[in-house]
Amino acid sequence: MSTNRDVTRIVRSWLNEDRHEDADRVLNTVLDQLDTTPQRRSLWSARRFLAMNSPMRIGLAAAALVVAALVGYQLLSGPNIAGPGPSNLTPIELPSTVPLPAGSPVELPSAAPLAAGTYFIRNPYTDDDPVRSCDSGCADYTRIVFTLPDGWATTDGFVHKEFGQAGEVAFKAWTPGEIYLDPCHWQESSTGPISHADDSSGAIVVVDQFPLLNQVGTSASGPTNVVLGGQRSLRIDVSIPAELDIATCDRGEFRSWTEWDVVDGANSHHASGQIDVVYFVDVDRRTLFVDVSYLPGASEADLAEMAAILSSMVIER
């Protein structure tokens, strides 16, 4: 009979035996393929409003923030995403519904301008993605289907219009890990869990001082029970102050939440004055976030398109 210490010693010794591996051939094969293997560029290091100086940026953001909040709230409260928003916002006239094309869904490419049509985002944790895995229980959905009008594009999972510009409108599906309590000073920030429960009437309620409602330096409203893509959801609206200079945040990033099961993954796609409408979709195992974001300069027409896209959305289980 062996002891635990014996086994550990024997296994360690066996693993550390020289097995004469030589990686030169593999290495040469890889290096030969670099020219034909493009790197996937990241958005996190991209800076918005590159052409503007800081005072201009803040001024524009502040001036447009109130209008955008009003317009955005109203437009994003479409028939499929019902629910009251911040009580101090005054309703405005809604534009007519944007007609969307119909058709069989095609998979969203990694980066491309998109023709009008119906697309789907596959749950990235359930395929052979080298970074993500469903091994320890990812959010339980198979794909998100939606229809886009002309003029939209996609990059790194974001579906967007006017990307990186003052009029940006975008959405992205996330499997979040935890919420940063201080998104600007995230390096030293504690994080909070995403926890919700059902009350006696079947509505979703937040528990444990829901961290997205209590982040340092943001304004939040909600939560509101809504339906998104045919699934029960909670909606929380979060806005970043127009006067915040994100360049002063840790490493120049404002991180709202970590990305579950991704080393160093986080949502840092934020700009001063940005408004995020975050839908916590109640699927099993883990929460799915659909994060709709827009900047103060977003046009009423683009926000109407976003509302129509959300209305077209189906989250398949």
Partner: protein, 182 residues
């Protein structure tokens, strides 16, 4: 790890990536060889992992976390190779082999075949934990980060794997019925 190399490679500098890859390739191959117990599969996994690193490196935010991030890609590549292989591999059940053992079990010289057999019976997830912890000497929290699972899960898998190895070694060391009758 030279973070300057990582940063330059993130920017598309192929020469920097070549230097970076040269510093990790041997270790990657050795690690994947141990996880997969097959040098051909290990070479494929290493190649895929290095290419994934090149492709996805711009998305790594903190170059200081390159090591954990890169090992994650390697382990994922090993899982993918393992899955791909299982699709066509015959379903072979490994049985204890009747062969004479040293009287004191494996306390003196352990037959590598015994270890190999015991290790192959483990799942890839359990093998990965054993290799990351006992071969790469990563602490449990780093193993957890690489694998994307809680530390408790790592500890549990490690405990199970080592217990299974011990059982396998003890079973192989036990005299067969034929030997016992002699």
């Amino acid at each position: 790890m030279d973070t300057d190399l990582v940063v330059r490679a993130q920017g598309g500098d192929q020469e920097a990536f070549a230097d970076l890859a040269a510093t990790i390739a041997d270790r990657f191959l050795a690690t994947s060889h141990r996880i997969l117990s097959d040098i051909d599969l290990a070479e494929d996994a290493t190649q895929q992992a290095l290419l994934s690193i090149w492709q996805d490196l711009p998305q790594l935010r903190d170059p200081a976390r390159f090591e954990a991030w890169s090992y994650r890609l390697l382990v994922r590549a090993c899982y993918a190779e393992g899955r791909r292989t299982r699709r066509w591999a015959p379903n072979i059940r490994l049985l204890p082999v009747d062969e004479p053992m040293a009287a004191d079990g494996f306390s003196s010289v352990v037959d590598r075949d015994q270890l190999e057999r015991g290790f192959r019976r483990l799942s890839l997830k359990h093998r990965s934990v054993v290799v990351l912890y006992h071969y790469l000497d990563l602490p449990l929290d780093q193993v957890a980060e690489v694998l994307g699972v809680p530390v408790g899960t790592v500890a549990s898998r490690l405990h199970y794997a080592m217990r299974a190895m011990r059982t396998a070694l003890d079973a192989d060391a036990r005299p067969t019925s034929r030997e016992a009758a002699q």
